[in-house]
Symmetry: C2
């Protein structure tokens, strides 16, 4: 399709979505409701490309997507209120801008940042969908020593979820990790991780593995061996999606 | 009913509740689901008394309630996991303690604290049920000058909601206000108000009135006259419930 290439910055509450990727009619997905809104505006189906998929229950405050439009009559920034008026309250367009024809939300992205929010005291009901409950306070210095092991280009096979496409296609599971760091924000524990790209369930697997081995007092040198082993069975549990946010995509 | 008098500290996400007070079967209320859980434990209906009602959509992190139990077999603090295992995830018991026979969650309370959370930038989807969106940054020094007018014992008629019982019964609408203060927490605007008791919708009416007159640059002396007038029609709009929390009850 010809026309303007529109880039959207968008946020969603993943609680009531079956993830990002459009599926069958009965499964409510973020891509699905966005494409419905685009279809209402255009009168025909318009495909939307996201920077990447997020799983059921995972939130986003900085997802990026793009689509081509033949609507010439409205300035680019008017797509924000126009689409929001057609969207449910759990997904919001924050910005819209026109990009070159070559811009592709997925292939043009150079880095993705995710954040995991943990609460290490009684989890209050209004926090339950946006934070993961930890029954103890982990030691940040050990978690951050583990995090430093990931920096740079690493084979991430040990953290690949069962459904990751690379497991079948034999593609590289090397990823370039720019940041993997834990810190406190008030009484919330935050894990922030930034990489050029992620394998399926990789953030949830890394966080689960780190917390698992930290609790067992495993020294960082041992964790380095586990990562190098590429043995999925040595990874810790894949954590639930509550508390995980797609925070930012860089181009 | 005889038996131990159990005081509960509890929290709830008010989003999917028709407020605190038990109503007909089809309306899901906090008191209703709690009394269902108590009935499952006891085998018969047990009445629960709350410190006060909260409206549809209003949350609590420090609600207090009490009930009498004839169950002698379990220590008091075991009511916490026992009830939580019978309750939905949007209401949680935080503490349970035994009180004297005379303790009454409503009549024994000497002060209630509410908090209103506002966001003055784009409201993100995951924040929408727990914060109220303000399209502008109000001036805290003016709001806090208004707040100082409320301190002490005041006739609060101007802030009484349409359904307040005192409007029919002719009871006093004087309330003793201990605190009424706005401050920032990160990028969230917080209004905290503490009083011996509140009229119906009073917190939402005070916040709406203050923001309404602050926007019109009304000097505090003028607001003092409006409060003294007891004229409900001079109050500003009653704000929506999202963002309002029953924060604490003192005894």
């Amino acid at each position: 399709m010809e026309g303007r290439n529109i880039k959207l910055l968008l946020a969603y509450d993943g609680t009531d979505f079956c993830g990002w990727q459009r599926q069958s009619e009965e499964n409510r997905t973020v891509q699905g409701v966005l494409e419905q809104a685009l279809e209402k505006m255009h009168g025909f189906h318009v495909s939307l490309t996201g920077s990447g998929r997020t799983d059921t229950g995972v939130h986003a405050i900085g997802q990026v997507a793009n689509f081509f439009t033949n609507i010439d009559s409205i300035p680019c920034d008017r797509f924000v209120p126009a689409l929001n008026s057609l969207l449910p309250q759990d997904v919001r367009i924050l910005e819209a801008s026109e990009e070159k024809k070559e811009f592709h939300a997925r292939f043009s992205a150079c880095a993705r940042t995710y954040r995991y929010h943990f609460i290490c005291r009684n989890l209050l009901p209004h926090e339950r969908n946006y934070n993961l409950y930890l029954y103890r306070f982990p030691r940040l210095e050990i978690l951050n020593a583990y995090g430093r092991l990931l920096l740079g280009e690493k084979d991430c096979s040990v953290f690949a979820g069962a459904g990751d496409a690379s497991l079948e296609t034999g593609k590289s599971r090397n990823r370039y990790i720019y940041k993997a760091h834990f810190h406190m924000e008030g009484d919330r524990l935050v894990f922030e991780i930034c990489a050029n790209a992620f394998l399926r369930n990789m953030v949830r697997s890394i966080a689960g593995t780190f917390l698992h081995y930290e609790e067992k007092d495993t020294p960082p040198e041992k964790l380095r061996e586990i990562i190098a082993s590429k043995e999925r069975s040595l990874a810790g549990p894949t954590l639930p999606p509550q508390g995980l946010f797609l925070w930012k995509v860089d181009y």
